[in-house]
């Protein structure tokens, strides 16, 4: 009787604990949705045209500072453009470019890494030599060459960024697969007559997910900066279209006298990356049954 009573009270507590909302998930999703929404609704939300220059209001600090203006909440840059509007518009490019290029890099890298690690032999040798070649050539140089050839456009920038960063995924995944494929459950699955593709998709890939998610969150931040580097060289998205990375690079010159130029786009990048990281972290834990209570 006492046992039954204890059980009865214990069970709901346990299930409630299981469904407890995770701070990481809520924070990550909220921030990303807010960022994405703000970027999508930029034409409605932005108080100014992001490209409009008002030279009489150059380098005005945020509204709460002494020289700040009410109509420019986050201040203006060296050409008198409204920072807030530029961040809102910049988010469209930065988010779209970084998300799509990471997705491209991950798809390419994970697929090739899986094949290299799982099949070994000649497939491994060929794929990993290609990876070595990509690692040996500075990726900016590679991107420059390709963009020069194809011409700078949003799509080309995404393609180039994805196609130069897939090696990060390929190497990590291959290393993990090398150890996973030797584990007994993979041999066991083979002994139950599973096809190679099924072994890869069902038995190897789910066990290699953790590092993939970690690399993807790191790469997302990298891609935002990478895009700004390409823009800086005139190969990325062309000014005056604002991007976070470009604003950051641009504001760097004024960091001693006008901190807000680089700080606000930097904060936007940081918040995005943090949200993605937390979400990735949470996702990884959710997908690993050993870590769910």
């Amino acid at each position: 009787m006492t046992d039954a009573a204890t059980l009865a009270t214990a069970l709901p507590v346990r299930s409630r604990a299981r469904r407890r909302v995770s701070f990481r998930a809520v924070f990550g999703i909220t921030v990303l949705l807010a960022m994405g929404g703000a970027a999508l609704l930029a034409p409605q939300l932005a108080p100014w045209d992001p490209a409009r220059q008002m030279l009489l209001k150059r380098l005005r600090p945020p509204a709460w500072e002494a020289r700040g203006l009410r109509e420019h909440p986050l201040g203006t840059d060296h050409l008198g453009r409204d920072i807030l509007s530029r961040i809102l518009y910049g988010g469209r490019i930065s988010l779209a470019v970084s998300l799509s290029s990471v997705a491209l890099a991950a798809t390419l890298g994970v697929t090739l890494g899986l094949c290299a690690g799982f099949f070994g032999g000649r497939a491994d040798a060929i794929i990993m030599r290609v990876v070595d070649v990509f690692l040996a050539i500075p990726y900016i140089l590679l991107a420059m060459g390709v963009v020069f050839a194809l011409g700078p456009s949003l799509l080309n920038v995404i393609l180039v960024m994805g196609a130069t960063r897939w090696v990060q995924f390929a190497r990590i995944v291959r290393a993990d697969v090398l150890s996973i494929r030797e584990r007994e459950f993979v041999v066991g699955a083979r002994a139950r007559g599973n096809r190679a593709l099924r072994l890869l998709v069902r038995h190897v890939l789910p066990n290699a997910l953790t590092p993939i998610i970690v690399v993807a969150t790191l790469e997302l931040a990298f891609m935002i900066i990478y895009e700004s580097a390409l823009s800086f060289l005139g190969l990325g998205v062309q000014p005056p279209t604002p991007t976070w990375g470009w604003m950051l690079a641009d504001g760097r010159n004024y960091i001693a006298t006008a901190w807000w130029l680089a700080t606000f786009p930097g904060l936007a990048i940081m918040l995005t990356v943090l949200a993605v990281n937390l979400l990735g972290d949470w996702l990884r834990d959710r997908l690993d049954p050993r870590l769910t209570v």
């Binding site: 041999v187 139950r192 007559g193």
Partner: protein
């Protein structure tokens, strides 16, 4: 009617930088329908390689160099990769030694059993899930309806091994290869698993190839025993005869190695020496360097596996 499984002159070799390791060197045996054959030997003698050869899952650089493996008369070595894939699981099931690592950690055991059921039997997902619960019941997992949702790490070693059995048996194979299924378990759980194996074997009339180094397991479960040493079978006999009248000096040595309460306080017996280097096995009998009864001819020619008494095969010229 041919025996269920017939292994004939099997040679499996591993080509390494320092020479070719002849892990299995001319092994022949047969398993009848409903028979449990024990394959006994010490570590590294070729037991597991034999079982992987039957499945054609020898990891590279290993390869099957010679011999035949016939399942219900069909030569498995002549099959193409796709035909062989259809044999695995459906006609030959396999259980491994380490229940900790033999189940995929990221799926629940029900999920794993159900997907194996789907792959072999077809039907819908709900039916497959039902089947998973049934299988867990069959292998005597307590409250299978709840356990089916558990992940491998939530189960004890014994339960995991039961889940492994369910997974191997869900497609109804005629032959089960059990590679040291109880080695990683403690003795009380061992006894339960052996009981379960014996019951399932009798109920389903399936054949079992039991690979073990544990003579206790052999005595519990097997009908017939093949003793393997350095990649060759040295003695094969019904289980009672092996224990009552072992003929090969190696088998005799193995039996003397068993600790026994009646020899309390005395040092444990061990066979002198170590198994030969399988890259350069000695000419003649491979056990000769360690054999207490060795005679001159042993070192010259390899003694053939001959029928000394009905059903009792020995590869030794010395003993009666």
């Amino acid at each position: 009617m041919p025996p269920l499984l017939e292994v004939d002159g099997l040679q499996t070799q591993f080509v390494t930088g320092t020479g070719t390791v002849r892990a299995v060197d001319g092994v022949s045996f047969a398993i009848e329908r409903g028979e449990v054959l024990g394959l006994v030997g010490e570590s590294g003698c070729g037991k597991s390689v034999t079982s992987l050869s039957i499945m054609r899952l020898v990891p590279p650089p290993g390869r099957i160099a010679a011999g035949h493996i016939r399942l219900e008369g069909e030569d498995l070595l002549a099959k193409d990769a796709e035909a062989m894939r259809q044999v695995r699981g459906a006609r030959i099931g396999m259980v491994f030694q380490e229940p900790m690592t033999s189940l995929n950690p990221v799926f629940s055991i029900g999920d794993q059993i159900a997907s194996a059921a789907l792959a072999h039997g077809g039907g819908g997902r709900a039916a497959a899930w039902e089947r998973a619960v049934e299988m867990l019941q069959l292998v005597q997992v307590p409250s299978p309806g709840e356990r089916v949702r558990d992940y491998p790490h939530q189960l004890s070693g014994g339960l995991r091994q039961r889940a492994m059995l369910a997974l191997a048996l869900v497609s109804g194979p005629r032959l089960l290869i059990a590679d040291e299924p109880t080695t990683a378990l403690d003795v009380t759980i061992q006894a339960q698993i052996l009981d379960l194996l014996r019951r399932l074997q009798a109920e389903r009339g399936m054949s079992v190839l039991m690979i073990t180094h544990d003579l206790g397991v052999v005595a519990e479960l097997c009908h017939r025993v093949a003793v393997i040493y350095a990649g060759r079978i040295v003695e094969m006999a019904p289980v009672a005869r092996i224990f009552a009248r072992p003929m090969h000096p190696y088998t005799q040595g193995l039996l003397r190695c068993l600790p026994h309460p009646s020899r309390f306080g005395q040092p444990l017996f061990s066979i002198e020496g170590v198994p030969p280097d399988l890259r350069r096995p000695p000419a003649g009998c491979r056990f000769a360097p360690r054999c207490p009864h060795v005679i001159e001819s042993c070192r010259r020619a390899e003694p053939p596996l001959g029928e000394r008494e009905p059903g009792h095969l020995v590869a030794c010229p010395v003993l009666p």
